[in-house]
Symmetry: C2
Subunit: 109 residues, 2 copies
DNA sequence: CGTGTAAGGAATTCTGACACG
DNA sequence: CGTGTAAGGAATTCTGACACG
């Protein structure tokens, strides 16, 4: 289901390049990971790898930080967003279920 | 005009990751550059950086090589392709020019 | 809390070259 | 021609820690 060929989601960018792309120091980037704001993959021997989506997220984080928002609060907001997304998804699936129940394919047997 | 925010074209991937992604050795990847099949950018201090488009191109090259096609021939084909693309583009622009001449915006002055 | 920095080590990347076929 | 490899050096990345505020 999860098509992970998407260029935006593939984790292939090393921390040095991410640093250039975002203007953040490597220290900051690693710290935001420690605070569970960002989740890079690890290469074979432990090097962090980020996606373009991660880069964009980091830029958002940087903006929030500049406004004085603490990492803890940013995390709260992100979790809230995530819950909202999941809710939407579930509602969609429920709807689909109801439609199928009335007009959809027959259950076999 | 050239919108280079495109994830596919941004050169951000280091040679080690490209090697993993393509299955090619770093030696091979550097050699194909020497033969002018691929054109990475360089980071600040000289490290090669590739795009997803480059990765796909390298996979195509690898397939051709497996069929025994020489790098020189691959280069020929690529140049031919490129010329074809440019031709198409020019024809398109010519067409647009004619349409504008009859129905388009007035030239000022 | 958020970030800088020095520390020490391991892994990465670079170039030019020799080897083989 | 296309690729492997050893060589030496420079740059990258990692972790854990101390510092400051």
């Amino acid at each position: 289901m999860e098509q992970d060929t998407s260029y935006k989601e593939r984790k292939v960018i090393t921390i040095g390049v991410v640093s250039e792309l975002t203007g953040l120091s490597e220290r900051q980037i690693r710290y935001y990971e420690e605070r569970k704001l960002i989740f890079p993959e690890r290469s074979h021997r432990g090097n962090r790898k980020y996606s373009f989506a991660d880069v964009e997220l980091l830029i958002d984080i940087a903006n929030k930080r500049e406004e004085g928002v603490q990492t803890f609060e940013i995390r709260q907001e992100m979790l809230k967003e995530k819950r909202k997304e999941e809710d939407k998804k579930i509602r969609k699936e429920l709807m689909r279920g109801q439609i199928n129940a009335r007009f959809g394919v027959q259950k076999d047997s």
